[in-house]
Amino acid sequence: MYINIIMAGFGGQGVLTLGKLVCLAADSAGKNATFFPSYGGEQRGGTCNCTVVISDEEIGTPIVNKADYIIVMNEPSYDKFKNSVVSGGTLIINESQIHKSEVLEGINQVRVKSDDIAAEAGNRLASNMVMLGAFTGFTKFVGEDVVKEIIKESMSSKKQYLETNLNAFEKGLGQGE
């Protein structure tokens, strides 16, 4: 396994958290993982993104222009990254915010109403967890139990939100499958 993933959205959607959780899950399953956040002229409400690489081998570049999977959480990110998926790769789209629909040749599209599903799960802000679920369900990069453990560990100081976040994750799993 050697996969590159770009996750993008606006500041506050939990894109960086999503990336870190994917890395922590991969790491705890004994894989190598790198996380590189965009930094520079970032501002509140602006777009932000991160690149994650997961591999069983030594990881080369931690930054890529073209990724196997791209998760886009808002429309500016969709516009920016829709052509950055490698041929045969997959674009995972937050359909609650991205209403554009077009044929992208040679690329799979997984459309997830992640904000709405998160709201159903009890916490609209857990949209990133729905995406984590969708990504896990789609790629099976590690077992879902591994990811659940990581979510629990990372939320140990915010226990009041754990249940809704786990719910959101589980609802996401089915979306990806």
């Binding site: 870190k20 890395c23 922590l24 790491d27 190598n32 993982a33 790198t34 996380f35 590189f36 956040p37 930094y39 520079g40 030594e58 990881i59 080369g60 570049t61 931690p62 930054i63 890529v64 222009n65 073209k66």
Partner: protein, 352 residues
Amino acid sequence: MERKFMKGNEAIAEAAVRAGCKFFAGYPITPQNEIPEYLSWRLREVGGDFVQAESEVSAINMVYGAASSGKPSMTSSSSTGISLKAEGMSYLAQAKLPAVIINVGRCGPGLGGILPAQSDYLFATKASGHGGFKMIVFAPSTVQEAVDLTYKSFDYAYRDRNPVMVLADGVVGIMMESVELPDFKEIKAPDWALSGTENEELKEIIPMCWSGEDLERDNIEMAKMFRRWEENDVQYEEYMLEDAEIVIASYGTSARICKTVIKEARKQGIKIGMLRPITLNPFPYKAFEKLDKSIVRKILIVEMTIPSQMIEDVELGVKGQIEIDTFGRSGGVVISPEEILNKVLEVKEGLK
């Protein structure tokens, strides 16, 4: 060994703590801010001290003071901030004081920008200040290597009574990766350290010398130390070199990106490998010198700086025996595997 998923800057800071660092002074600058942020609470836990100084100049001189008293000391900054520490680093060298200086490089010159670059190669290896001193300069390529090299830097600094520099870049500092953290060590205050007690015998730690002959003797001793480094302390990695017609010379983040390129180019049947300096000073001249000229047809230097800086050392290594080409991006643009591969294909085409 403890395994942890850490940000490069925080991993560097934790490695310093584990190496026995007990004092840190610094002044904020992107992209290394997580180092002082982390140490601001972490050093207290191990009985050390942290100071956010009023400037970089102040910070390096606080390190001078703490090192004089035998406290394992470190400062960190990024490119333009390291320029401000130049005088202090030279003072440390002449006063024979150990210290570790972390440079998480950003683009320049001037205030430049906050994005990653490798534009400080010559500054770090040839003259980080006035007066002809040098430092061992380590260039980590991964977060794990940043940990290991920072940890070792304290040993070298105390062995040589000389400052040591870790030259990272914004990518190594900002990215996160799993690391194995080394065990905790203590560094005992050496005999030369000042205790500040009344009964202390006369000891001299001073960055100057009134007598020309004495200062010259110091210079000669330093020159001998630089030669010992070249004999004993050179570190580099040879990557897929065996049959390589094209040899990439690259370090730090660029070298890591080149590994992706080399794998891809090998799939396309190109015989390519890499020689990666881990110590930029002492530079692995001999490793370049011993490249087989009957096999290697081109050296391609890849750096995140324009124009190439490492070319000056690579040329000294290959002594005109192998053709050299260079490729770089700068200004904070992180070099991409695709563009390096295109350059490799162009070089390959030129060999025919």
